[in-house]
């Protein structure tokens, strides 16, 4: 057996350790329920209210493309972020060292761990895709082929997002082993991605009409992988929906097939560069020879009794880039709200 298969089997064992005595039964029950949901319960559930909803809101037809694009954007990002969240909870250098001491390569470990998680992603696909199909079916009367393509697109999207997330998480872990500063930078990345996630949701909520009337704006985001997948969706339900975009169906198809496969291959071959224990050797240290004026001012302005405590806490907070990022975020948030409030006052209160 290839070593990545051994590692994948072990990963699956770890993920299902709570059902260690009845693993097969667990999977039979889980997937039976998911298949029941996908092919029976979800269609019944959505048929209950979607036809009425489509009749009540006829504009929904024109907004479907935008909704699909944004839902897939959010799904892609949330799955991409998921592996990143776990990197701060555990240090895996010890496991890696034992496995890397065996004939297994870094590529075997990476691919094995990733494939070992696929049954869990499959569960996610079987939960999520019937919802999308249930929402689209009353509007477009999807046939079997269209449903299969939608399953394929969502599977590809979820697996590709998880693959990219796992690569970035492994690379961050490798960097984190090098220094505390890298850990700090990793937290900033997580924070930024969470902000992007929130921004996607708010953009859809507040700029819905604007985005609907200016679909060509989306061409600025052609590098974002979920849009390649959503293009196939759109073409499937109405080929004309792609007419205003740079990427046509063929280029989108090429991207969704080639990029994930090439990424997987590169990850396997080049795993040594982002999945090793070498990181632990080089330590990057920062040197602070003397206290700057800001801290001296704090020392002077606080009483002798509290000086030590306040200075320690302030240094601990401000020397983390993550904290600076939070301050910038709060500042930005304040400015955005201030501008929004001014615009609101000028537009409505003046009248």
């Amino acid at each position: 057996m290839s070593l990545w298969k051994t590692i994948a089997k072990n990963e699956l064992k770890l993920r299902t350790n709570k059902f260690r005595n009845h693993r097969v039964l667990f999977f039979i029950i889980l997937y039976s329920f998911l298949i029941l949901w996908a092919f029976l319960l979800a269609p019944i559930l959505f048929d209950l209210f979607m036809p009425t909803l489509v009749e009540t809101i006829p504009e929904i037809n024109s907004a479907v493309a935008l909704i699909i694009e944004y839902v897939l954007m959010a799904v892609f990002l949330s799955i991409f972020i998921y592996p990143l969240n776990s990197i701060y909870r555990k240090t895996e250098i010890g496991f890696k060292e034992i496995i890397l001491a065996s004939p297994a390569t870094a590529g075997d470990i990476f691919i094995g761990e990733f494939i070992g998680r696929l049954p869990i992603f499959l569960g996610g696909i079987l939960v999520f895709t019937p919802i999308i199909i249930g929402l689209l079916n009353p509007v477009f009367n999807l046939n079997v082929i269209q449903s299969i393509v939608i399953y394929g697109c969502i599977s590809g999207l979820i697996i590709f997002a998880a693959l990219l997330g796992s690569i970035v998480a492994a690379w961050l872990e490798h960097k984190i082993a090098k220094s505390e500063r890298a850990r700090d930078l990793g937290k900033i990345l997580l924070f930024l991605l969470s902000i992007v996630m929130v921004a996607i949701i708010y953009t859809l909520q507040f700029l819905f009409s604007f985005l609907l009337n200016n679909p060509q704006l989306r061409n600025w985001l052609i590098f974002y992988p979920s849009l390649w997948f959503s293009n196939i969706f759109l073409y499937l339900i109405e080929p004309a929906l792609l007419s205003r975009y740079i990427l046509n169906i063929w280029s989108s198809l090429a991207l969704v097939i080639i990029i994930p496969l090439v990424t997987l291959l590169i990850a396997y071959k080049k795993a040594d560069s982002f999945f090793t224990v070498e990181g632990g050797i080089e330590k990057i240290s920062s040197v602070i020879e003397r206290e700057n004026k800001f801290y001296k001012l704090i020392r002077k302005s606080t009483g002798h009794k509290w000086e030590g405590l306040i200075i320690t806490q302030t240094k601990e907070f401000l020397r983390r880039r993550e904290s600076i990022m939070k301050i910038v975020y709060l500042g930005g948030w304040f400015i955005v709200w201030k501008l929004y409030f001014c615009w609101f006052k000028r537009s409505y209160l003046a009248v």
């Binding site: 072990n10 496991f95 060292e97 034992i98 065996s102 004939p103």
Partner: protein, 248 residues
């Protein structure tokens, strides 16, 4: 650094923290690649024949991570499969190792419930499962309480005597090295300073024991009065009181 370790000997690599012991042992196990130079382990080149090196070596890392949600048996089966061992060989080897390390009856317990000493035993089992010709032990007794450390030392001693293996130990614990090793090398900043039997090293610098020899070789001088710093520090409390009196 040049090392030549005869087969069947127990070799101890000593040195302070950050001397390069772990890096050396990781390179010799083909876990990381050297930036320069090369080595042969059990006759195989660590760069071009890394797979053969790995198959012939057992390795106990300094901070071994165990999958907490696996049982000892499941973990050892996993490690055995990584070395391409057939299932029946894995089963019999696990049985033997559990018996040697006195873990029988606990093999189906989750590793999260094991004490540190027991976890170290499981890691030693993992390092031995493919019956390697050479075993690398990186700080095998660090993080262990004295009783567990004693047990691990006894196990290594037994292995060296009965199993006819080459054992390579990295440590900064001098008593353990003196007790267990036939040959010792002292390393500092990636450079091998001295090599020989414990007695040779002690005699070479006219020391009374290995600790004394190590300190002499490393150029560590004894600070006569460790509490001298107290005299230079002003009595802050007294100063504060004087200030308060003046204010009044």
């Amino acid at each position: 650094m040049n090392l030549k370790i005869p087969y069947g000997k127990t070799y101890g690599l000593l040195g302070p923290n950050g001397a390069g012991k772990t890096t050396t042992v990781r390179m010799l196990n083909a876990i990381i690649s050297p930036t320069a130079g090369t080595a042969e382990v059990v006759g195989f080149n660590i760069i071009t024949q890394s797979k053969q090196v790995k198959i012939n070596c057992g390795f106990l890392p300094e901070s071994p991570g165990l999958y907490q949600k696996l049982t000892a048996k499941e973990f050892l089966e996993f490690v055995g499969e990584l070395y391409y061992l057939p299932k029946d060989v894995i089963s019999s080897r696990i049985e033997e190792l559990l018996e040697i390390f006195e873990l029988e009856g606990r093999e189906n317990d989750l590793l999260e419930g094991y004490s540190r000493g027991m976890k170290q035993k499981v890691c030693l089992c993992a390092a031995l499962i493919q019956d390697p010709k050479i075993i690398f032990l990186d700080e095998p007794t660090s993080n262990l309480d004295p009783a567990a450390a004693r047990m691990v030392k006894d196990l290594i001693s037994e292995l060296a005597k009965k199993a006819d293996k080459t054992i390579f130990i990295c440590t900064h614990l001098l008593d353990a090295a003196e007790e267990l090793c036939d040959l010792i090398g002292i390393i500092d900043k990636g450079e091998l300073k001295v090599e020989g039997t414990p007695k040779e090293i002690i005699d070479s610098v006219g020391a009374k024991d290995l600790e004394d020899a190590y300190l002499k070789i490393m150029g560590v001088t004894k600070i006569e009065d460790l509490l001298a710093w107290r005299e230079d520090v002003p009595d802050n409390l007294e100063k504060e009181n004087q200030k308060k009196k003046k204010k009044k």
